[in-house]
Amino acid sequence: MRRLLAAGLALAFSALAAPASAAGYPDRPITMIVPWGAGGGTDAVARIVASLLERDLGQPVAVVNRTGGQGVVGHQAIADATPDGYTLGLITVEIAMMHWAGLTPLTPASYTPLALMNEDPAGVQVRTDAPYKTAQELLDDIKKNPGKFKASGTGQGGIWHLALAGMLSSLKMDPASVPWVPSNGAAPGLQDLVAGGVQVVTCSLPEARSLIDAGRVKSLAIMSPERSKLMPNIPTLKEATGSDWAIGAWRGVAAPKGLPADVSTKLQAALKKVYESKEYQDFLSGRGFGGKYADGPGFGAFMAAADASLGKVMKEVGLAK
């Protein structure tokens, strides 16, 4: 009995240790780990990508939510998986922020990048009945009354917090002149904006869209070099204030570090097809998400640049350790 068990174990280990090869890849189901909860924007992107990838690769792609720890748990699970192409992950902008905050040793370099799939720039939202017509008027008022306005949209040190702090810093204002009220994501932050609890919410346009459409919230500017396709009448921050500050939340597919080159090539080609498919483009425009594509090396370079610039700002505004 014991010998049988040992033989079984040996067999199992040899199967695990066998080098992954693209020859038959993929010949079993693939798992896609999402570091955020079911129902959010990241989850939705993962699920459409998974279902389209499944069609292309001919193997089921199961989405698994590994939530908690502000994304650390899920990102760690992706990095720790075996690099055989059977565990992929949807990594998000937080991977270029968390290590600066001292939460994890993981950096963008801990992965094999495969494709950048989407980016949504931050916007500056206030209540519709707020007396400001432009972002500049709001900023002038902030300058006159530091500490009076409160802002929200995500947790402490999250991407939208950094968007606000970076914007103020780029305009030579004190990032602490608008204290941050942490929230569990954009929706509770926006609700608090309408409830009168906070005065500014710096989340992305698709997140604010329903309340903008309902006439409760207006967006004064977006922190991007170009205007948004979804709401082209909203000026960029550069147009509104002269600041070059741009920031957005992005999502891309990655595998653990050390993915065999042939598997990586095959996945990159499949993901490019997914990005260009009508279904994915319809999904983006339906949800109001911004499309942005880069292949593996391009995504790697994009992340490295983002990592450097986010780190610089986080140090400037005191969010880095």
Binding site: G39, V64, T104, P182, D192, D213, F283, G288
Partner: protein, 497 residues
């Protein structure tokens, strides 16, 4: 009127009806498996809805979530294992009924009053969605702080026995809610450098451990003896329901109202609604001493409440695109994809679709009755197994359920630790319920307090400055002070006499 007819006609198509049926069956199965929540059930549906027409897609979500919330009561009654967090409040009561041989009665009550609660919530949604959404949108962290505190007051009413032991249990729950980095300061607490603990203590494995695993350990310790009770068959459901309906109609109405009201608030959902309703039921009952011993009264009120909350959550979701709970958060994404952008304009531009959605709500809740009865019959068959066979099956469900939450062995470890904790607590007559309540409310309490303080620059009086907040505050203080004051007065009178 034309829009209503058009809306109903949109639903009465074989493909829509068939989708709703299939989604209902799916929701029933997922909800009945501990560890798989209603939210997870509909998240699993999302990729399928990409390839569906708008109406069947939305119909599938509604039917699936309604069934899953009810189905959570099945393992909760049979195995003391809440299938979804919304069932946790009255798990012990349902299980106590099973121990008395009344599993079918308990589940029958769950089926009927879940369906009625869902229907009530739907009617409120139809009648007053735009108006109520307006009120719900006015809730800020100040109001949520008082609500969370009021919720904690429930512990006073649900905890039988010694108040000190109840308090110990509650504080333990609040402590557990502190672990991890998901707190307002974004600082890791009690994580000991572990990535898993950074994510905090997952509520579901903790709940499975405290309730079900502890029962498994206790049964093992006593040698897995069979219960000397015979499960009574429910008999004619209509007859049993008639009696319950006549006897407990005030409880039912109160549960419906509480559930809908809490469901509408974006920061609170079906799980909190069930706790509040269970506590209210006990507080105002003529026979509070029967609670906890397998008494159907509290079950009726809280099971009505959690299903009513489900419909209530759609109010802010449809009117403002603000999710009322984690389920509607998933639904909003699907609405956008299908071009049914939520907002007040949806009611103006697309009234027939709104009426179609309402029709689906009604249909799904009616469908719950026959499907629920089928599931009930299938489920109670489990109880005919001898305990020594049933207990390993429960253990397997504990492991699978706690693994499934996050697909990681960490969940299983948590579940086992909490199983031992639950066992030790009950051996020392420390009630489990207040601890679970503390885990549910701990985060909301802390977040709402800290964010309110940031907004008000540390001014405590800000909690009384907003009209709704002030009223809630006064009510909360009354709830806490009243028992102390009345006991003091009773003592003084005794001394005078």
């Amino acid at each position: 009127m034309d829009a209503i007819e058009a809306g109903i006609a949109m639903v009465m198509r074989w493909d829509v009806i068939l989708t709703i049926l299939a989604a209902s069956a799916f929701g029933m199965v997922v909800g009945a498996i501990p560890g798989l929540t209603a939210t997870m059930a509909i998240a699993l549906l999302v990729p399928i809805t990409f390839f569906m027409e708008p109406l069947p897609a939305v119909g599938a979500m509604i039917a699936c979530s309604a069934m899953a919330i009810f189905a959570g009561d099945i393992p909760s009654t049979l195995m003391r294992m809440p299938g979804t967090p919304a069932s946790a409040a009255y798990t012990e009561e349902c299980y106590a009924m099973t121990r008395k041989g009344q599993a079918e009665v308990a589940l029958g009550a769950n089926v009927l009053f879940s369906a009625l609660g869902g229907l009530f919530g739907t009617f409120i949604l139809i009648l007053a969605a735009p108006l109520l959404a307006e009120v719900a949108l006015g809730f800020s962290s100040f109001e949520y702080f008082w609500l969370a505190l009021l919720g904690l007051a429930c512990a006073i009413f649900i905890g039988a026995g010694s108040p000190v032991k109840g308090l110990i249990s509650l504080l333990l729950g609040l402590f557990i809610a502190q672990v991890g980095i998901d707190n307002p300061g974004g600082l890791p607490r009690f994580t000991f450098g572990s990535t898993e603990l950074l994510g905090g203590i997952d509520f579901i494995p903790a709940m499975i451990g405290l309730f079900a695993m502890s029962e498994v350990i206790r049964t093992m310790a006593t040698g897995a003896r069979d219960w000397n009770v015979k499960q009574v068959s429910m008999g004619n459901p209509l007859k049993g329901w008639g009696t319950m309906f006549v006897k407990y109609w005030p409880q039912q109405i109160r549960g419906n109202l509480t559930g809908t009201a809490i469901g509408i608030l974006p920061g609170a959902g079906a799980d909190i609604a069930a706790w509040v309703s269970y506590a209210t039921s006990r507080k105002f009952s003529k026979q509070p001493e029967k609670f906890g011993t397998g008494h159907v009264e509290g079950i009726i009120e809280s099971t009505s409440s959690n299903n009513a909350a489900l419909a209530g959550a759609w109010v802010p979701a449809l009117v403002f695109g603000i999710p009322g709970d984690s389920i509607t958060a998933v639904v909003i994404g699907v609405l956008y994809l299908k071009g049914l952008n939520p907002g007040p304009m949806l009611f103006v531009n697309n009234p027939q679709t709104i009426y179609a959605v309402f029709t689906i709500f009604i249909l799904a809740n009616l469908l719950m009755i026959p499907l629920g009865l089928l599931a009930l019959k299938a489920g109670t068959a489990l109880l005919r197994f001898p305990r020594r066979i049933l207990i390993p099956i429960i253990l397997m469900f504990c492991i699978v359920g706690s693994y499934a939450v996050n697909n990681s062995p960490y969940g299983v470890v948590l579940m086992l630790v909490f199983g031992v904790l639950g066992f030790l607590m009950e051996e020392h007559e420390i009630p489990i319920a207040p601890c679970v309540l503390g885990i549910v409310l701990g985060k909301l309490l802390e977040e709402s307090f800290v964010t309110s303080m940031i907004k008000a620059d540390g001014d405590l009086l800000a909690f009384f400055e907003r009209p709704i907040s002030g009223t809630l505050g006064a009510l909360t203080i009354l709830v806490f002070v009243w028992p102390i004051w009345s006991s003091l007065r009773a003592r003084r009178q005794r001394r005078a006499a």
